[in-house]
């Protein structure tokens, strides 16, 4: 039962992403800024930092599964989020081994993850759909507001999530290692 807590948390944020547009005032949506909630990615980064050990790769597995779910539910194109989230979380997991985890490192890693993921998604989509959005306007109109909004979200989560994740990590992963 306890093992289900982590996927359920991710599912909760996946569903809430669909209502994220309601949280923003309508005037912002009408303006030319595109703010994209990467809440699942933020939670996945936390999982990579606080839940996984150096030798376990649960975060990458969850990244692939929930990336696929986002593709399925919110877009028409399968594979883009799945590939991006898997890759980005793998990189984050690698970087985490090099740095000692504290608030600043966590935020830095979250920012790297969001920027890499959003840019990769933009590049992949512009290959497929020939979007007319140019680089300059993408960075100004989409990447920067998205980064700001998601870092804010990560900050809100910081007092709540890491403690819980470490608790689950100790009770779940240690036991499985012992077996």
């Amino acid at each position: 039962m306890k093992r289900l807590l982590l996927p359920l948390t991710l599912l909760l944020f996946l569903v809430l992403e669909g209502t994220a547009m309601d949280f923003l005032p309508k005037e912002w949506l009408l303006a030319d800024y595109y703010i994209i909630p990467h809440w699942v990615l933020v939670v996945l980064t936390y999982i990579a930092i606080f839940y996984d050990f150096d030798s376990t790769y649960y975060c990458v597995l969850y990244g692939i599964i929930f990336g696929l779910l986002i593709d399925l539910i919110y877009t028409d194109m399968l594979g883009v989020y799945m590939f991006t989230y898997g890759l980005v979380i793998y990189i984050t997991h690698g970087l985490k081994k090099l740095l000692h985890s504290n608030v600043f490192v966590t935020l830095l890693l979250t920012m790297i993850a969001i920027v890499t993921a959003d840019t990769t998604i933009y590049v992949l989509y512009s290959f497929i759909q020939a979007t007319e959005m140019v680089w300059e306007s993408y960075i100004l109109m989409s990447l920067l507001p998205t980064l700001a909004a998601n870092v804010l979200f990560a900050l809100v989560l910081y007092p709540l999530l890491p403690g819980k994740l470490q608790e689950w990590s100790e009770s779940q992963l240690k036991r499985s290692n012992a077996i």
Binding site: G18, T19, L72, T75, D76, M77, G79, M133, S142
Partner: protein
């Protein structure tokens, strides 16, 4: 030994890229139906979304409610003034409807392109990817009679069409997300010279984000700002007479042969909660099953 690991990693990345390309290739085709795993997952998550949507809607609605309450008095005054106008209009409409029906009976013509049935639905999620996928999820699906390509309207006008359906949820493509492969045949209702002009509604361009493009209007047509655009029913997909929007401005297209109009959508494409899915009554050869089954039964 390390080189082996490096190779393994390389192979893994190569495989995942191949998988990515294969999946994208599979989903990029114009598909009418989803595969069953997709349908199953969409319905399951749709159920969870329904549970969460109502409380979130309540919380985020509080701000709007306060704003509404502050404007109530002014609105009330204005609406009272307009109600009396509508009374006259209502009598006229009733009379015309009756006339229309009688005349139709006289002609023995039952089918009408503007007839449709409505399936009410509630929005349960909006795609968090607003750059490319302007999509909504609604809580009605195949089981309620929703099919792909049906028009979706709100009280104010057309907002989009059904893109794909599963058993109890469906995905709506908003007007602002239409691309070149799905255009609407629209008609500009006559202005001063009382002549209707036809054109094709396409997705908005990047310069003017909120306006739709109405393309391929004849060069000679005289169109003014403020004229109304409705669906023509000629495409066979949407019924006739669904309100699309108002003309904002008209320009000559890049080749100088036709005109392009910017249309401001009548419905608010950002604040959508309740919609109706429109099932047109008239038969369309390209979309419906041929209605020949009853005849065959008769002959047997």
């Amino acid at each position: 030994m390390p080189s082996f690991f490096r190779n393994k990693r390389l192979i893994l990345i190569l495989i995942s890229i191949i998988l990515l390309v294969a999946l994208i290739g599979f989903t990029m085709r114009d598909r009418d139906n989803l595969t069953w795993p997709e349908e199953f997952l969409q319905d399951t998550i749709g159920g969870v979304q329904t549970v969460f949507h109502t409380p979130v809607q309540f919380v985020t609605g509080i701000y709007d409610n306060i704003k509404d309450i502050r404007q109530t008095y002014e609105q009330n005054q204005m609406l009272k003034a307009r109600v009396s106008e509508f009374k006259d209009l209502l009598i006229d409409v009733k009379q015309l409807k009756k006339d229309n029906e009688e005349l139709r009976k006289l002609l023995d013509k039952q089918e009408n392109m503007s007839d449709y049935e409505e399936i009410p639905a509630t929005v349960i999620a909006r795609s968090p990817e607003p750059r490319w996928f302007k999509q909504l999820t609604i809580n009605k699906g195949k089981r309620h009679g929703v099919k792909a390509n049906m028009a979706v309207i709100t009280g104010d006008g057309l907002v989009g069409k059904i893109q794909s359906t599963s058993a109890v949820t469906s995905t709506v493509q908003l007007l602002s997300g239409f691309d070149r492969s799905n255009v609407i045949h629209g008609v500009i209702l006559g202005g001063e010279d009382d002549k209707d002009q036809y054109g094709l509604i396409e997705a908005p361009d990047d310069k003017q984000k909120d306006a739709l493009l109405l393309k391929k209007i004849p060069y000679e047509a005289k169109i003014e700002k403020g004229q109304t655009v409705v669906s023509s029913g000629m495409g066979g997909v949407f019924p006739k007479g669904l309100l699309i929007g108002k003309i904002e401005k008209v320009v000559i297209d890049e080749y100088g042969l036709t005109q392009t109009a910017y249309v401001e959508p009548a419905a608010d494409l950002y604040d959508i909660n309740h919609v109706s899915v429109v099932d047109r009554a008239s038969y369309s050869p390209s979309l419906d099953e041929p209605p020949s089954t009853s005849k065959e039964e008769d002959s047997e």
